[in-house]
Amino acid sequence: MITIPYLTAVSTYFSYGLLFAFGQLRDYSRLIFDWCSTNNLQGYAPICLAHEDFYIRRLYHRIQDCFNRPISSAPDSWVDVIERYSNDNNKTLKRTTKSTRCLNLGSYNYLGFGSFDEYCTPRVIESLKKFSASTCSSRVDAGTTSVHAELEECVAKYVGKPAAIVTGMGFATNSAIIPVLIGKGGLIISDSLNHTSIVNGARGSGATIRVFQHNTPAHLERVLKEQIAEGQPRTHRPWKKIIVVVEGIYSMEGEICQLPEIVSVCKKYKAYVYLDEAHSIGAIGKTGRGVCELLGVDTADVDIMMGTFTKSFGSCGGYIAGSKELIQYLKYHCPAHLYATSISTPSAQQIISAIKVILGEDGSNRGAQKLARIRENSNFFRAELQKMGFEVLGDNDSPVMPIMLYNPAKIPAFSRECLRENVAVVVVGFPATPLLLARARICISASHSREDLIKALKVISKAGDLTGIKYFPAAPKKQEEEKDRIKLD
């Protein structure tokens, strides 16, 4: 749980209050200005009510240059960020033809498959020549190629489940699969910080939704006990099905879920476990098999394992792995399988090749090296940031490192300062995070070298000093300690 220091909370509220006041003033003056000019859409209700896009018009637009930055190269450890300029105070941004080479700390490129790879890329190009960019059809009609069939087997074997189904987009996987698995009369208990795709899927299913405190198995047990005792709302009949939805690594916190305890609670109360490994598959665990391998949980205990290929495999799409009967059922009913265009064949080939590299089936040990490097890099970077006094979230071994900013003005300040020193970071504010808890999210990759990380640390430290985000006292440096020791001696 993030506990915001008292003074910081007061100053953050004050900043937002000031921004809100100025925004309202500008809105009033715009209203007066608009009264004078005519509007040709008389009689229509405005498509965006004033208060709905207030945040976008008056707050987000002012710092719009920190988001949506276009890049013109592959998202490797170094990336070309296109420069943009604005003539109307950041309301619209125009691209120039110039770009700056920046250190990339924002892409989900955990294992370095985001750029040219000597094993994967030639095979992807072959597949593009043979099968073309798109199948132009859904999986059940004419969109299944031999590559798709091979991919599903490969994924099932890698994850450790009997069968898997692959869809074209990770977001759509959750939104389309959860309504198929559970409906009215069922109960979904979801972690409070679960991703929007899970929330969308749960809402679309029609089941009752209850939330438990983030990563707290004790609270999950309390909620389960209460809900089983109460039964369905109004009728109090027993629930038809209970599914507990958790994530492997929470993308905004960098925390790893307490899977062994959650699985034991679910076994006790006979609830199904749905694990979303979007960020953890391929990135953690000795052979990259995700949070189950890292924490020693048997994959047979997790009923439904979901993941995406965007992060560690350098591709796109999502998968669900489970028992053969479950996957067969999903293939008959899942809308993403029946109606959406199937995953692009070259993307599928990229995933197969990436899995082969990770497992060492390409004849080299690059996969094992990558996994070792990302663990080393993450732990080194996190330790150094904490020593400098930054408030860094997340557990050890997790490659996702959010640095807390809190104050809205620090969001653009940190981002622009880092860009000036050629380091590209991603800053996140409302609505992706709660209003007060804005952060900068660093994603470490296996392709970052030690020099890259040291440079990044220098730049972040400088930006941190300028913006005042070193909320914790810095650890005393080693030389000073030695000096003291000598003095005492």
Binding site: L128, F171, A176
Partner: protein
């Protein structure tokens, strides 16, 4: 000024767009034959949804009348009409000029899904608005999947600057999802360039559709249920058995035989239990500009042959089952009678 927003999955385009613009109290009037992506978006928006009869303008008019008489006072109530340009479930084309007239009369906004009409309808392939001669500014939001005519993946949403800017933070499929792989975006750009520079592709495709229609106009046991200009040629059964499952089994059998005997790949309608669309099932044929005349003539001959073999002959299987059940019952009755007598 029109702007555009791209998403990485075709089916998520609509279900990310619709919930952005619909809040408590808003009313959405949608066609009953819309595909699952739109249905999911409507469900996620959690607003009042009124369905009108599939592609029936009189039904739409009466629905709009009813809504307007009920809600005369609410000025800030947003009202939308959601329709598809070419319906994926039936191949019908929406009469956009009439929809726009109704929209202007009753002050509704139109959200149009042009997945199957982009690159197909209109003189230069710009979609339904060009086809009907309606200025594109009259349609408030246009979404489309790029997995059809543009042969890539993903989808996009266009509208005026304010609508698109609003979606950059509130469209869940855009904010909380990874972007499209760059090679697919390049493929889409190139596809649009090719369509622009080669209008003869559109002419060829329209000729192909007409040829297929001519070939299938006298097919026995099935009838053409789509619009004669739609690239989705939809064949429905003339005599439905009453059960969707039975119909689907028969259509699947026909598609299987077409593949095995004539190397012709056709697809039958597929339905998930989540799909609330109640339109008839049938066989869908997707026409392409790449098909040659001989291909299409061969296809129509094959389908005509299979239809007459499978659909016209008395359904022996059912005859067998009903007679078996009858004789079994008769036999068991006599056995019981025997037992009683004994």
């Amino acid at each position: 000024m029109l702007r555009q927003l791209e998403l990485s999955c075709s089916v998520s385009t609509m279900f990310s767009t619709i919930p952005c613009f619909c809040k408590r109290g808003d009313i959405i009037v949608a066609d009953e034959g819309v595909h699952w992506g739109i249905q999911n978006g409507l469900q996620l928006s959690r607003r009042t949804i009124v369905y009108f009869k599939h592609n029936d303008m009189d039904s739409l008019r009466s629905t709009l009348e009813k809504i307007m008489t009920k809600n005369k006072r609410s000025k800030n109530l947003r009202r939308y009409i959601v329709a598809e340009a070419v319906y994926q479930n039936s191949g019908q084309i929406a009469p956009l000029d009439e929809i726009v007239k109704l929209k202007e009369k009753y002050r509704f906004r139109v959200i149009l899904d042009e997945s199957n009409s982009l690159g197909v309808l209109g003189r230069s392939g710009r979609g339904l608005s060009e086809h009907h001669g309606v200025p594109i500014e009259k349609i408030d939001v246009v979404t489309a999947a790029m997995g059809h005519a543009l042969a890539t993946e993903g989808g996009f949403c266009t509208g005026n600057a304010r609508i698109i800017d609003y979606q950059r933070l509130s469209s869940s499929g855009y904010v909380f999802s990874a972007s499209l792989p760059p090679y697919l975006a390049s493929a889409a750009i190139t596809a649009i360039d090719v369509i622009d520079q080669n209008p003869e592709l559109l002419v060829k495709m329209k000729q192909n559709i007409a040829l297929l229609w001519k070939g299938l106009s006298d097919i026995k046991g099935m009838s053409l249920a789509s619009n004669h200009e739609s690239p989705i040629v939809f064949l429905k059964l003339e005599k439905s058995s009453g059960s969707t499952k039975e119909d689907l089994l028969l259509l699947e059998k026909m598609a299987d035989r077409a593949l095995k005997e004539d190397s012709l790949l056709v697809v039958s309608s597929k339905k998930s239990f989540l799909d609330k669309c109640r339109l008839l099932v049938g066989i869908k044929l997707f026409v392409s500009a790449g098909h040659s005349d001989t291909d299409l003539i061969k296809a129509s001959e094959s389908l005509k042959r299979l239809a007459s073999e499978l659909l016209l002959s008395p359904n022996l299987f059912f005859l067998f089952i009903t007679s078996y059940v009858f004789f079994f019952n008769l036999l068991s009755y006599f056995i019981i009678l025997d037992d009683h007598v004994a």
